[in-house]
Symmetry: C2
């Protein structure tokens, strides 16, 4: 999926919502635990119930890997279900991979050829040759970690690296030269909305994947204020607040209500800014 | 496996060799491609042929993941084979994971509980809470990326982060406080043997996993000179130079010859330094 197609979906759905599929057995409604592929069945119902409100789904690899082959099977079933029924959906493998060149090449094969995802999250520590192999696939995306919203994000990302620049800014500036706004996006933690100003100075045109935004607390408005560009340029992810909003058999319906709440706010923001 | 047990193995085998299992279909001898689990069969023969010369095996996750469930199956078979036949072997999952806390917890489950590996390589960019969940398993190890030998390693790892310190040094200094020399090791690229002096100033006691050392070119002597401590403190990895030394059905025998060459050099070094 190229950036034009992605922007079209955003306009069509008036949404820049990504739903994170951090699906774990312990949190599934009781009934689902009886079926053969419980994670997939949960995902399927969530997806079927929200596909017109979201432009992307983001399965988190760790939650599937921790079940071994059975987990991989359910991840494959999930991706295939989206591909078959909602071909215009962006599928992001949240994998945070990154290794030397020949190993990154294998990871790129895994996520882009074997699983047929559109995008994969990648960690920057090992530098250019850990990222470049992912950029060799036309229509696919690297989403590079820049600024993360977890507590430990402060340990290294805010280190001063000279020239009045912090590590996350150096990561943005250098890595932007490896690809372009048509094949790279960045993870930027939403709890640092004020940092978005800095981010947009360095990469005005790239899409940003923003995790950790809730519907209620005004975060979304702040993220939009500082993060939007003329082609939207934002993908806002919500995982648990949507998929685990209800723990009964009504989970998919309640997930839809939560997603709808987000989508309505996004629609208002996009309209107000004249983007749709 | 705790550090005492690891040091015992090093003394017993007079070796600090790790063999990397970067096993890929395209490089297997023709005959093996006919069997049901070719990667496993290759690994099994390599392991059975070298187990008395190596103290660790390091399967590289990317090479198994890229085959999907069939790859995972063969990874599991490989780990189980080592566990069953060579219970004193250190098994390192080369995965370079790293995510926010609850996701890293799942990755720790995957590699320590499901796969029952002893150690996993972890990327530092997301900081403490991406590493701590791995440290909750007694007898297991985090091997944190510090200095990598790939070309892109220069992009960020050598950035000056103030106080006459570069990023890899800050990573070492800060992260050493998250655990101790009994549950953390570090990846330090061998092409930078002179950097080992710096590394040892900051973490004199930790084990270092050194990739990219060949048997022929004197690297090993240099790495040993600057990296050894009184309890060895080094694990030197070789992957392709051993497992792909021969591409015929004699591969396992030739792998043994290459491993033996390394082990003999290591034995001399350990004896000369009075470590064994």
């Amino acid at each position: 999926m190229n950036s034009g197609q992605l922007f079209n979906q955003i306009k069509l759905k008036q949404s820049f919502l990504c739903i994170g599929l951090d699906t774990e057995m312990a949190k599934l409604p009781g009934l689902l635990k009886e079926v053969e592929f419980p994670l997939f069945e949960f995902n399927r119902q969530i997806i079927d119930s929200t596909h017109d409100l979201a432009i992307a789904y983001k399965p988190n690899m760790a939650f599937y890997e921790c079940l071994g082959t059975v987990g991989w099977q359910q991840l494959e079933l999930t991706v295939n279900h989206i591909r078959e029924h909602y071909p215009d959906m962006l599928i992001i493998a949240d994998a945070k991979r990154g290794d030397i060149g020949n190993t990154s090449k294998k990871y790129a094969e895994t996520f882009f050829k074997l699983l047929n995802c559109d995008a994969v999250t990648v960690a920057p520590y090992m530098g250019s040759d850990s990222v470049l192999p992912f950029l060799e696939y036309p229509g696919k995306w690297v989403i590079l970690l820049a600024l993360t919203s977890n507590q430990g994000g402060d340990d290294f990302q805010f280190l001063n690296t000279g020239n009045h620049e912090r590590l996350f800014e150096t990561v943005l500036r250098k890595s932007a030269q490896w690809g372009n706004s048509g094949n790279m996006m960045y993870v930027v933690g939403a709890t640092r909305a004020s940092m978005l100003v800095k981010v947009r100075e360095i990469i005005p045109d790239h899409f940003l994947l923003i995790p950790g935004v809730g519907a209620q607390d005004g975060d979304l408005a702040e993220v939009a204020e500082y993060g939007l560009n003329s082609r939207c340029g934002l993908i806002v992810n919500s995982s648990r607040a949507i998929i685990y909003a209800d723990s009964t058999e009504r989970f998919a319906q309640v997930a839809r209500e939560k997603a709808l709440e987000m989508q309505r706010q996004m629609s208002t923001i996009l309209t107000d800014r004249g983007i749709v």
